[in-house]
């Protein structure tokens, strides 16, 4: 087993990986930007090295700096987390070349699955169903028109090297095609340095259901069942759960087998995720493969009972999987809410700043993975994900109720969060019935929904008045203690000042 691992990441996932290292008796080396000196991952690590200024291109994306730290600290392996360099084949290759074990698949696999077009081609060859569309990048507008007619509108234009919704356009009407193609190409070019774009049919009411894979270096592959990730905002997952309410045991088994088939076709090893789109007729299609640990991995850990990050490390160290497919079962139900510093009442605009108060929920079936603490100043430079709250229950209803009370208990002062949004989802009838697809938020959510409750209206007014009263008292105290406002003043003068302030 490794003695020391470098974690090329920050925030909650860096903390997550450090914890796994410590539980395996492995020393953890952190890297950090100048904005992160006080961050948890720096403080929990055994060693920590600054790799540059706050903006990630100058720090967390600097492969040279990170490898320098790996050498200096004598780390034997590198864990990339998710985001940043996690799916960058060049970084994986540089690690390999420098003699560090990259905790993930080979750089070749990352490269192959990173190209959406090549990934599709691989899957088609392996008889894994893919969303109907082009196998090759589009040549020009004429080509695009032709293909679009063939598979039928609405269609998606997608960047061949894409991810995270960039270089993506939905086209509902042939008239929009030219403009959309231009937009997608230019966005793809600027985001990925490659303007290749391809076409996929836009499914109706699609659900996003993914399968977790573990593959060791000795040819053994298992799946750890599905995660339902259809609650998305702008192609970003917000809430995930497992099991999916949409799958029955037969479909689950079939998708699991095909997920393993897909992983085999990619020559996969370590932890990975096969993402599927499922239409309302229960047809499922390969969407893409994520060649890293996912944000939402904890729900699988809770329901299947396997520590996925430890498994990643064990596999990278050459160990065989300690279980077979038939040993794995799902127990109960788990839901994850991503707690983000963003304002659900104002278009989810991000909200950085100082955390002035923090009180997190706990108790049976509750897990939190966090990168924050009271007194932490959330930097503006990185992802707004603060923490992941996971509730497990004996069944889905139990899990939802537990999550609801956790969200009610959660107190984070000083920064706006999407907790009120999560609470709204947990009380939404469609969600409660499991009847949702990737359009759920667009279809059902609005700011008005959030503030529709009138249950405690008077209490809210009283609370506001209490806050205003305390603010006025504070203002008064400041005025009275200001130069010339000392206690030597006559009571009459004081009273005059109080009146001027409207404090009587």
């Amino acid at each position: 087993m490794f003695k020391k691992i470098l974690i090329a990441n920050r925030g909650e996932i860096a903390v997550r990986v450090i914890r796994a290292c410590h539980e395996l008796d492995i020393e953890a080396v952190a890297v950090y930007s100048e904005a992160d000196r006080k961050a948890l991952h720096v403080r929990y690590a055994d060693e920590a090295y600054c790799i540059g200024p706050a903006p990630s291109p100058q720090s967390y994306l600097r492969t040279d700096k990170i490898l320098e730290v790996a050498k200096k600290s004598k780390a034997e392996a590198v864990h990339p987390g998710y985001g940043f360099l996690a799916e960058n084949p060049r970084f994986a290759r540089e690690c390999e070349d420098a003699g560090f074990v990259f905790i993930g698949p080979s750089s070749k696999t990352i490269e192959q699955m990173g190209s959406k077009v090549r990934a599709r081609q691989t899957m088609i060859a392996a008889k894994v169903p893919v969303v109907p569309g082009t196998e090759d990048p589009l040549r020009d507008l004429e080509h695009a028109k032709e293909i679009a007619e063939e598979i039928g509108y609405p269609i998606f234009l997608k960047a061949a090297m894409g991810g995270g919704g960039k270089g993506m356009r939905i086209v509902r009407d042939p008239n929009q095609l030219a403009a959309a193609l231009r937009g997608a190409q230019s966005e793809a070019k600027s985001a990925f340095g490659d303007d290749s774009v391809y076409i996929e049919r836009a499914l109706e009411k699609p659900r996003h259901i993914e399968f977790q894979i573990l593959a060791d270096n000795h040819g053994e592959i298992v799946h750890l069942f599905e995660r339902e990730c259809s609650i998305q905002r702008r192609h970003q997952k917000v809430i995930e759960e497992t099991p999916s309410t949409f799958l029955d045991p037969m479909m689950r088994q079939k998708m699991g087998e095909i997920a393993k088939q897909a992983a085999k076709a990619a020559g996969y090893r370590n932890a990975g995720t096969i993402e599927f789109l499922v239409d309302q007729h229960r047809n499922f299609y390969f969407l893409e493969m994520n060649t890293r640990i996912q944000v939402e991995h904890p729900i699988t850990e809770r329901v299947v009972g396997v520590d996925l990050v430890k498994a990643q490390i064990e596999i990278a160290a050459g160990r065989s999987l300690p279980f077979k497919q038939q040993n794995l079962v799902q127990t109960g139900h788990a839901i994850e809410c991503r707690i983000c510093a963003e304002d659900p009442a104002n278009q989810f605009l991000p909200s950085a700043g100082l955390i002035k108060g923090l009180r997190t929920p706990g108790g049976f079936g509750v897990r939190e993975d966090t990168g924050i603490f009271e007194g932490w100043e959330i930097p503006v430079f990185y992802d707004p994900l603060l923490s992941k709250l996971v509730a497990w229950g004996e069944d889905r209803t139990d899990a939802i109720r537990r999550m609801t009370r956790c969200l009610e208990e959660y107190q984070l002062l000083g920064v706006k969060t999407n907790i009120p949004f999560h609470l709204w989802v947990m009380r939404n009838d469609y969600f409660l019935q499991g009847d949702y697809d990737t359009h759920f938020i667009d279809t059902h959510f609005s700011k008005e929904n959030l503030i529709q409750s009138s249950h405690h209206k008077e209490v809210a007014w009283i609370g506001a008045a209490l806050e205003a009263w305390h603010r006025d008292q504070k203002r008064l105290r400041m005025m009275l203690s200001a130069p010339g406002g000392g206690s030597a003043d006559s009571p009459w003068k004081l009273q005059g000042r109080r009146e001027a302030l409207g404090l009587d």
């Binding site: 278009q347 989810f348 503006v380 009610e408 503030i451 009283i462 506001a464 806050e467 404090l503």
Partner: protein, 170 residues
């Protein structure tokens, strides 16, 4: 103290006075009187007991705009004190022809400007994209009208509250 609260277009007068015991307040809303046990539990957070009912309250204030979360439920309201009530009303009357400023809600980079000066916009039409915290955030026009002026350029870094764009109501 007396305050005026505006909530869902309604105006409510609310009076709050500390009672003799610390942490206890007498509150009046119209005819209703409340005996409130309200103690601060953090910056902008209170534990409130009214007739034995227990509420956890978090409050976020930006100027007169109060965001109140009661047991996880979300409220928005405007609150002014008595002295400032009249001037504020006057100020609204003086605002010229309803021109509205779009300003930056956070530090970030102008990724895209979706309109040009002179262009007509609908209410809630996207006018600018700001990248902040690794997210692209579309800013929308607060009113229907015409873009009078754009103060920033694509690619420019902006500070919180920076002027971005002026829309004149039509």
């Amino acid at each position: 103290m007396a305050y005026e609260i505006e909530s869902d277009g309604k105006k409510i007068e609310i009076e709050i006075e500390p009672a003799e015991t610390e942490g206890i307040f007498n509150v009046r809303i119209g005819d209703q009187k409340f005996h409130v046990d309200g103690i601060p539990t953090g910056e902008g957070s209170y534990s409130i007991l009214i007739d034995g009912q227990s509420y956890e309250i978090d409050i976020d204030v930006r100027e007169d705009r109060y965001r109140v979360v009661v047991n996880g439920e979300f409220y928005e309201l405007d609150l002014r004190d008595e002295r400032r009530r009249r001037p504020t009303v006057t100020a609204v009357l003086e605002t010229p022809s309803g021109a509205q400023l779009v300003s930056a809600p956070m530090a970030g980079k102008v990724l895209d400007i979706l309109v040009v000066a002179g262009q007509s916009v609908e209410k809630d039409q996207g006018v600018m994209v700001i990248e902040a915290m690794k997210m692209e955030n579309e800013l929308r026009s607060p009113i229907q009208g015409v873009v009078k002026e754009v103060y920033v350029k694509r690619g420019e870094a902006v500070e919180p509250k920076a002027k971005l764009l002026l829309v004149e109501g039509s």
